[in-house]
Each structure stands twice: as structure tokens, then as C-alpha cells.
Amino acid sequence: MLPELGQMALLIAFVLSLLLGTLPLWGAQRGNVALQLTARPLSFALLAAVTVSYILLTMAFVQHDFSVAYVAKNSNTLLPVMYQVSAVWGAHEGSLLLWVLTLCVWIAAVAVFSKNLPDVVHARVLAIMGLVALGFLAFTVITSNPFERMLPAPLEGHDLNPLLQDPGLIFHPPLLYIGYVGFSVAFAFAIAALIEGHIDTRWIRWARPWTNVAWAFLTLGIALGSFWAYYELGWGGWWFWDPVENASFMPWLVGAALLHSQATTEKRGSFSSWTLLLAIAAFSLSLLGTFLVRSGVLTSVHAFASDPERGMFILAFLCCVVGGSLVLFALRAPKEAGKPFQWQSRESLLLLNNLLLTAAAAMVLLGTLYPLLADALGLGKVSVGPPYFGKLFLILMAPLVLLIPFGPLSRWQRENLSDIARWLAPWLALAVLIAVIAYFRAPQHPLKSAMAWFSGIWLALGTARFVWHRFAQSQGRFTAEIIGMVTAHAGVAVFCFGALMTEGLSVEKDVAAKPGQSFEVGDYRFTFLGVTEVAGANFIAQRGDIQIGIGERHLGILHPEKRQYASGGSSMTEADMHGGLTRDLYVALGEPTDNAGGWALRLHVKPFVRWIWFGAILMALGSLIVIFDKRFKRKGHEA
């Protein structure tokens, strides 16, 4: 009974999204205020319908209704409650419903917080988001209905993929979706502006906070995914340039460019068409990501089970949305207006910034799709992996790292870059000096170690120099925008340092350990005490005890596990780690090596690895701080 209600709620939502997508838009074209005003109530109704549907699906999981095929495939009676709830988004159909729900929440949020906007704009923006919802609801209802029944109902369900039975994975998809889907707001604004025929800086000012929030959540979602992979997958990696990871990274890069472009257009009126294009691109890449993950076009350990029919549907949707927007852009993109500027100016630096970020996104796209391209053109099967992405990413980002401290210090329109160079020169010299020392002192990978120190120190001190400058110049007036920017750039410094130090100076040993045996890795000592059997809620595990210490000090005991879940399948490794500010100690269990209690172990020392995620958190935080700036509190009708 309840699943049928859920299905009905979906159909109602479908109709509501159709109304939302058409009525206000028509009203905006025709100047019919009554129709325009239907946007807000329709948005709330849509959210209600989708929420009901989602709650009903969740209830089906919690009540173990195995007559619903999706529930039977992704859960069983032994599954702990919190995973029953998160299992809703554990596979294709349910995660799609979560996508739609997230979109509806954004739509409702825009409906609530947009009182300052002219009705026409308001109507258009909500209608465009409604059309996106329409597409996804159509996709769900036609090809991916989560409420499909399976009769006769099995007595016991299969299982949620054990990899997903983890707190990190509970939050990763929702955070990611809030980010991805949030770019639809900037997108809707861009389309509304193109329809209207001119860009009003008021609207950009209005759109900025939404973009910042979306980008912040995308940052957190990606960071959480990376952290999860690190502690869950057992070999200490944190980024694999897997196609699905790339699918989330591309919108992130373009989103970062968008943030900067929107700021420039808002303040100076320049680059309005580039800002529009970036807004379209960011959301298009989000949609492309959805396509790549669900269509089976690319092989990935991450991808949902693929289905060419679904692939075609999303592709058609992609063509409508992106193709339509780009046609609109080709026809109506505004002419370049805005204030002029010189070769040496903040505008130029920001243009360069966006160019490099976009080039990086294009590189990731090229590398991700190249195997497909090669196959299609008959060039044979090529594989593109970390050696490609890692190298090119470093090459493209190096100039950016060099330029970041120049940006905030430069003025709009006209700047003398040699002045700024003089201010920054001592800090650049210091960074180079430390990098050189690091190069000669590194036990391995000296270049990466040097790059880590250089980028970390240069970015940190360059940003600090700006803070000092600002303090001196304007008696310490720091707007939220400035504080946010400083935080985010500091985050970049922390991230670069952590990532390059880990990549360069991690030490890892695979050992065949006998009980009581000790091993030295880096400065640390790992002592294997033995393995015992323990039972969990829905699994049985072999749990290892490894004592860790440095010098005379004992740091604790680590408990990596090898779990066998009751639902069957191969065993799963749960690594254990001793986290720290300056390094992580990491242990994973392999296989027993003999019958006398010996086991294979993997031991890692990973310097500064947590700085990777601290850096990301700082970047997200910085982006969020910006939205509290006073400039966004002005009424929309003021200039």
C-alpha cells in the first residue's frame, strides 16, 4: 500500500514540476503577474510531494518491505538502522530520488529567500529549476522507479554493499548532491538573464551566495569521499582520478572559476558573458557527471549498474538542457560591457585564474573521455590514469599557485605589478630557500617535498602579506568577503602542502608478520600482537592487534579487521589508523601467511595527510563566510 502511495506522490510531483516549469515562464513572457506568482506555491507543493515519496521509500526500508524490489536488493533484516536509512541512496533508483529531493529543497530555498527579486526574474528562475526537476522526475518515473514491486516478496533481502555500510558513506552522497545540484541556481539565473536579454548586476549579486554555498558543499562532499576512500579502502590512497571522481571534480574546478568570475562581474560589470557561460558549464558538468556514473559508458569501480536505456535518456536530457542553453547563449549573450582595465590589473589576473582552472577542467574531461574517444575512432584501447592526470594537473596548477598571492594585493583596473612583486619578493625568496633545503633533506621524492614546502609557505605567507597590507591600508577593515577569501586561500596552502607531502614522503611496507614481531617504518615501530575473532552486528571479523610506538613512547594499539558479512560475498578490509596533526600511522590486514598465527600486514606512515582534508574544509568555510558580507544584504532594487 505505502509503496503505491510513494509512486503516486512521484507522479503528482511530476505534474507539479510540469506546471512549475511552464506557468511562471509563460507568465514572465507575457507579463502576467498572476501566473508569475504561481511559482512560489508550486515550488513548495513540489517539495512536499517529493518529500512524501522519499519518506515512504525510507519507511519501506525501515519496515523491511522486501516486496519492493529496490529494498530487497539493498538491505536485509540484519542491517543496522542507520544503514537502513542510508541504504535508500545506496543504488541508482534511490540515489536518483535523493537527487530530485535535493533539487526540490534548493527550489524551495530560492522561493523563500527571494523576496528582494523582481517577480519576473523570480518566476523565470524557479521555472527553469522546475524544468530540470521535470526532466529528472520523468527519468525516475519512466526508467528508474524505486517503488517497483517484486512478487512474490522474498523473506530476506540481499544486502547493502558492505562498502557503503559506513558513517562516511552516509554523508558523502547527500553533501555531494547539495553541491552538484546547487549549481542549478546559478544556472537558472544565467538562463533567466539570457531570456531577459541583459545582465543586471543586481542579479549577479543575488546569485553569488547561492553559488558559494553550492561550491562549499561540493568541496565538503568531495573531501569526505576522499577521506572515506582513505580510511576504508585499505591502501592509504586518497584520490584515484577514477572517472566518477573526475565527474565531481570538473564541476568543482569550473565552480571555482565561476565564483571568481561572478565577483568580477558584480563589482566591475565585466565579463558578464563569461560568467554566464561558466554558470552554464558548471551545471552542465554536474549533469554530465550524472550521465557518466549511470550510463555505463565508462568503466569505474564506482559506477552504478549501467543500463544503455538509462544512458540514452540522460543523454537526451543533457542535450536538451545544455544544448538549449548554449543555443540561447549563442543567440543572446550580452556584449562585453563593464569598466575598462589595463594589462596589469586585478581583472587580468582573475582572467588568468579562470583560464587555468577551466583548462584544468578541460584536461580532466579530455583524459576521462579519451578511452571512449579512442575506442570510437578505432584507435584501440587506451587507458588514462593517474600518471596522466597527476602530471598535467601539477603543470597547469603551478602557474596558478604562483599567481594567487598577487591577486588580492592588486587593484582593479590599474596596477603596477612590479610594486606588488616587491612586497612579495622576500616571501617568495623564503619559500624558495626552504624548498631548496627540503629538496636536499628529503629521504625520497625530493621534488615533491620541495614543491610541498614551496607551495605551502608561498601561499600562506603571500596571503598573510595581504592581511598585513589590508590592516595597514584601511585601519583593519575586513569585510566578510575578504575574510572568506583569506580563509579559502589559506585552505589552498594547507591542501597543497598536505597533498604533496603525502605523495612525496609516505612510507609503506608490506610485511609477513609473526606474533610478537616488530617492524620499523620511518621513525615508528609497529609490533604485531596477534589476531582474534570478533563478531559485529551483521558480520564476523578477524581483528588484528598492532602496537605502535616511537622511541620509548607507546602510542596505542591499532585494530585493523577483515570482515565477512553475513550476507555473503568476499571479505572486506577495515584498516585502522592513528591519526595525527603531522602524520597518520596506518595498518591494514592482509591474509594469514601460515597456520601459526602469522599474517601479512601493510604498514604506512603518511606525513601530513590530514592537511588534505583540513585544507578542503578551510576552502569550504571560506566560501561560506563570504555569503555573510553586507553587500548581499542590500535590497535587490538598489544598485
Binding site: I280, A281, G296, V297, T299, G311, A330, L372, A376
Partner: protein, 175 residues
């Protein structure tokens, strides 16, 4: 003109993705083509699985075309393709079984249980020799002609269509 550029780029992308989805329908996209095609097959220097019904040895393969089927008792898809292999063998074609990463006992038991279509079975317990063939899983099937040249490789379970369209023509060419 530059305004059209993004649209044109997108059209090219959409075309590529369209082709990608079509190419991907149903078949295993992860299969790697064999670099051995057209080259001499590696020598089979492996122990044979001795079964009551075996009466051929590796030496008997010289100068004859044969199908090499990589299988294991642990391989689920091998059971699925088993009827196809059996039919192939019954039509007079010599099918050699390449028992991959399996114990002789398990292999013998599997054959006793499901039937033995193989004229002879060679054993590769640790998978070392398989590297020379570019084997990386089961089931995989090779067609080697009478001159000892690898003419065809299929990754994944065989179907009657593949036998009809790909394997038989090759065998009929160079018997």
C-alpha cells in the same frame, strides 16, 4: 562566431557520448583485444590433466586447428557457456581445455559433474604460463589455426552467435 563555439564543442561531445552508449549496449566494454592475433601461439608446456577419457596429448595438437578454452571450476560463467562448448566439441572441432588457477581434484570433479567436452585439458595452477597468452580471467577462448597462429580471442562466455559468426569461419578457412 565565438558565441557558437561552446555549442559546437558540446555537439561534438554529445555525439561522442551517443556513440559511447551505443557501443556499450550489452557487451563487455572492458575486454582487452589480444595482441597475439596473427602471431604464433605460445607453446603449451603445461602438465596435462589425466582423465579416464583422455587419449590425446599436447603433441597431437601439431598441425591441427583447435579452440583453446580457459576455464576453472570456480568460474560461474564457464558453467553457463558449457553447453556451447560441448556442442562445439561434438561438431568435430578439437577443443582444448586450459584449466586456470584450479586444483586438479576440483577440475576433475567439475568435469565429471558437468561433462567433459575437451579433447585434452592442460593445467595452469598458478597462472604463470597464462601471462604469455595474455589471459587474465575466465572464461576466455582462443582459436588457433593449423599453422599454430592465433586467429581469434574472445573474452567472456561463448554464445552460439559468436561460434557461428566468429569461430567457425576461421576454422573453415585453415583447417
Amino acid at each position: 562566431m565565438s558565441r557558437l563555439l561552446p555549442l559546437l564543442a558540446f555537439i561534438a561531445l554529445a555525439l561522442l557520448l551517443f556513440v559511447g552508449v551505443r557501443m556499450n549496449s550489452g557487451k563487455d566494454n572492458s575486454a582487452i583485444p589480444s595482441p597475439l592475433l596473427g602471431k604464433a601461439a605460445p607453446e603449451l608446456l603445461l602438465p596435462e590433466l589425466v582423465l579416464p577419457e583422455s587419449h590425446l596429448g599436447i603433441a597431437d595438437l601439431k598441425g591441427k586447428a583447435y579452440v583453446l578454452n580457459v576455464w576453472g571450476s570456480w568460474c560461474v560463467s564457464c558453467r553457463v557457456e558449457h553447453p556451447v562448448i560441448t556442442e562445439l566439441a561434438q561438431s568435430g572441432i578439437m577443443v582444448v581445455g586450459y584449466n586456470y588457477k584450479d586444483s586438479p581434484e576440483d577440475a576433475a570433479r567439475w568435469l565429471a559433474r558437468y561433462g567433459n567436452p575437451f579433447a585434452l585439458v592442460v593445467q595452469d595452477r598458478d597462472g604463470q604460463a597464462a601471462l604469455d597468452w595474455g589471459i587474465y580471467g575466465a572464461p576466455e577462448t582462443f582459436v588457433i589455426d593449423a599453422a599454430g597462429v592465433v586467429r581469434f580471442k574472445h573474452i567472456g562466455p561463448l554464445t552460439p552467435e559468436i561460434v557461428q559468426e566468429k569461430i567457425l569461419p576461421v576454422l573453415q578457412e585453415a583447417p
